[in-house]
Symmetry: C2
Subunit: 377 residues, 2 copies
């Protein structure tokens, strides 16, 4: 894969992490139209606050690091963002206000800003059209870089992302950067991005923890004229692919669950029920154990919507109906077989309303606990 | 410990579980005043629906089993509750409507009602004033029986409980049965119980999963005249002790966290913030690893209250201040030492409001995942 026209990137190992690439730079040949969707966590990190406030401006560069979230870092954190923006602006000959930044990693640790600033000049000399090194530099506990591309005849949409844990309820610790060469007005790009995020990153869950740093940014270099409804489709496709890749690479996760909720009052209700199931530690443990313990699904939905009528509810694991309008039915051995695969569907019908949604989730394993019990401070 | 005057109990191994006591019977010499607080889960089990509807009546007997939740069991589940109530009513010479029931264990499995009915006669012959066998018969993954007593001069309050997992956000899979000999009008007993539950069982969390079966029932045999404000204190004390015992015996749990939230707008806001921290898988993993990763605490609170001002927030682990009004402070090695004990306090100041609350929670360990990944269906 190659970046669309008008953008290039570089990556390096700056030493923020003990090993591996941890710093990425993306540079636009000319100011790019910029849209962004960010965490709504009140503990939002300094880079989130900075980059959120740049919406409406055209952007010349993005600096992203892994290995440190620069979150809950107080005045030092704000100063660090200012410093990295100023440093790359000086190199590119633009204003620091034309720069956006992103960070991911442990919270509450001072960002070693000198390691970032000292590398930007050399990175500029190594810019290329290959997005993979940049995608790799974002990785924390990810086991592979995440890239997705959708062509649309006249132009291209290409996105990179990092995920792994803290992916919920609203696109928590994940970063995604999407670039298109198709020209699009800023307000339209913001709307298209928000809708694409809502249907993708906002419908995945790893551990129901929402991060201080999640950011999805979208840039248009405007090099190509394209149909905006086709851009919408391509953007949706790229976001959906990246979101699914994130769940597949969930920390410690061994399975991808597609939780389909149907018959809810509206889409929001369907999403809420799906996320409640996705967030149930008990059900997620059962999935890890390939145990079709569908009672935990009902229990999770019943504590999400306390007016749910069990007589209206159906639960299927794969195509095996396990609970039919108030009564347990179904063959446990068939459901267990379905759950033995890397990926399976859980279908929950909750009534006869028009609301339906799919939420993607991962299982909860001892490896997840091990990863997250290790000393990071 | 002995039951207060006017009540006795028995327990047996009926075979619902593969081994150990799993059936308990409590009999009142004369109809006892009855109050109850139950799960609000829409998937509430048949015994919950039955016992909830008995509120307002005086009660002659309680039948409780472990090893099977009789939840999501449809018409069979309703029939089973009817059968067990009718069976003990026939033995005691009362109406089935004078009987309450409770079940705990796996969801969605048909209750083997013959094992219960066949044992009630023999259990009646073995009634005694020792509450411990009854408390043991409630145990599922509990490692010890839970009992608490508070004397109040003229009378006694004694309670038994079972817990272990699925303990949140509103007293999920837990059963507690509390008996006093102090006379109390039903409406007053209901109010006292609801308040005691709100300040105890509703402020604990094991895995943020709410069960289909949680029930707290309180009975007054009326044998003693006592001061009702002292009864209130004794009831609060018993509920608080049982709630803490449940968290200490959390599935796989190795530590008890006392999460104190201060300075919130009101008590409800303080409880919500405390429960958000208690529900964070990431923070609970850090606790298991004795890692003072306080950023996960801020992140959990910030996704609970999106208007939280970090400049107003303080977080302390034990007495070590880690985050002070927007800035990271504190010594990691001191906080890690605090977390190395079986029990520690996490103090979160979130503003200068009058709302404060304490929420008790357990850590998330690989043992929890292992327990809950085992095949139970």
């Amino acid at each position: 894969m190659k970046w669309p026209q008008g953008v290039s990137s570089a990556a390096t190992a700056s030493g923020i992490k003990s090993e591996g690439a941890d710093l990425g730079l993306m540079v636009f040949d000319a100011p790019a139209t910029y849209a962004g969707v960010f965490t709504t966590n009140a503990a939002a990190a300094a880079p989130v606050i900075w980059s959120r406030s740049r919406i409406g401006r055209d952007i010349r560069a993005l600096v992203a690091n892994s290995g440190n979230a620069n979150a809950c870092t107080g005045r030092d954190g704000v100063a660090a963002v200012q410093e990295e923006s100023t440093a790359i602006a000086a190199i590119l000959g633009c204003s620091p206000d034309d720069v956006v930044v992103a960070s991911t990693g442990p919270i509450g640790v001072k960002l070693p800003i000198d390691k970032i600033v000292g590398n930007l000049g050399g990175m500029k000399a190594n810019l290329s059209d290959d997005p993979e090194p940049f995608a790799r530099s974002l990785m924390t506990t990810d086991t592979y870089p995440k890239l997705a591309m959708a062509g649309m005849g006249e132009g291209t949409v290409l996105g990179v992302a990092k995920g792994a844990a803290m992916i919920a309820p609203n696109m928590a610790t994940m970063l995604a950067f999407i670039v298109t060469d198709v020209a699009c007005p800023q307000d339209r790009l913001q709307t298209l991005l928000a809708e694409a995020v809502d249907a993708s990153f906002n419908r995945i869950s790893v551990d129901a923890c929402e991060s201080t740093n999640d950011s999805v940014m979208c840039f248009s270099t405007g090099r190509t004229d394209g149909d905006l409804s086709r851009l919408e489709g391509a953007l949706d496709e790229v976001c959906a692919s990246l979101a699914e890749q994130i769940v597949r690479d969930a920390e410690g996760g061994t399975k991808l669950m597609r939780i389909e909720v149907r018959g809810a009052a509206d889409t929001a209700a369907a999403v809420a029920l799906g996320k409640a199931v996705a967030a149930s530690d008990l059900w997620r443990c059962a999935v890890a154990g390939e145990d079709p313990n569908w009672g935990r699904v009902l229990s999770a939905m019943g504590s999400c919507d306390r007016r749910l009528e069990m007589g209206d509810v159906e639960v299927s694991i794969g195509s095996e109906l396990m609970f039919l309008r108030g009564e347990p039915v179904g063959r446990t051995e068939i459901a267990a077989k379905v759950m033995s695969f890397d990926e399976f569907s859980l279908v929950c019908v909750v009534g006869d309303g028009p609301g339906h949604a799919q939420v993607l989730a991962a299982d909860l394993t001892t490896d997840y606990v091990r990863f997250n019990s290790e000393i990071t401070t």
